[in-house]
Subunit: 183 residues, 2 copies
């Protein structure tokens, strides 16, 4: 037998691309309904040319007030943020906005499934960190001598590595099955 070890590792795709494909796969297989939220844009001016589509000619990006993805899985609300870093050994907490943490905290308190997916793009490793652990890391940064980033060692210990596969690309729901209880 001539079994090749196949690598499904990321081939230049962004974390967002990988998650969008993963969610499309989950939707197709009827496992979950999870979508990326559109980027909020403030439209200032629109032209309405005759016989063609409305053309936005002036608009600006707004700061997102929530997170990247949400939807429903096994009857529960699911909400998560995706983040990438070029760093190799730690994830800087400044990549989060406070309103994102507040939003996840509120969702979690209301019974939602909340977490972050962090990709270290230069070493191509992806981790899932559940919200309670993320919240601890977020809060300790304001302590005296608080760390300003999450070491990859902590992500290995407190989080879960998501290994690339063919389909879905990033099978994060398998980890959610072990992390959350479902009735």
């Amino acid at each position: 037998l001539n079994k090749k070890k196949v690598s499904y590792s990321n081939r230049g795709m962004s974390l967002e691309d990988d998650l969008t494909r993963t969610n499309e796969y989950y939707l197709l297989k009827n496992r979950a309904v999870i979508h990326k939220k559109p980027i909020p844009i403030q439209v200032v001016n629109v032209d309405y040319p005759r016989r063609s589509a409305a053309k936005i000619t002036e608009a600006y990006y707004k700061k997102a007030s929530t997170t990247d993805y949400n939807g429903v899985y096994r009857g529960r609300y699911i909400d998560f943020e995706a983040k990438e870093t070029r760093n190799k050994t730690s994830f800087p907490l400044k990549n989060f906005h406070e309103h994102q943490i507040k939003h996840m905290n509120a969702c979690f308190e209301h019974g939602g499934i909340c977490f972050v997916v962090i990709r270290f793009s230069s070493i191509n490793r992806v981790f899932l960190l559940n919200f309670p652990q993320l919240k601890n890391w977020w809060q300790q940064q304001f302590d005296e001598n608080g760390k300003k980033s999450i070491p990859i060692k902590a992500l290995i210990k407190e989080g879960y590595e998501i290994k690339y596969s063919l389909a879905p690309r990033l099978p994060y729901l398998d980890l959610i099955d072990t992390l959350y209880s479902f009735k």
Copy 2:
């Protein structure tokens, strides 16, 4: 005593404004976390002027693939669409896109709370119709002699009128409490 009968009826606000204010109130009172999804926009060209914000100079509206609002309420996923009509006696089904019905159907099958909020703007009455009833109306239109719109009488019978109040403006979650079971 000189009690005035106060009317909280809509004062020129759109249904979307009313629902956004209602959701802000629910968030403030820590009752639910429900947000309007941003309108999806396809960005074609962006200028990056020095020392000022990125300016989008060409973009187009994309067709929404899901619904207007979603979030978490009492541990469950909630997802709904808001629609307005100038009609007085019925709501035309052509106001829905098939992908919106498909999306709500998938969410409902996965245990989500799904419904539509319909406002008759000329008579200023607002109804909530739960997804199973909406689905029946959607499907019958393809039958021979199928109705192309939902009569307001059917909304009164099969749905629930949402009466305007001061805060929240449209207390739709009170109806959800009676329509869905929570553990």
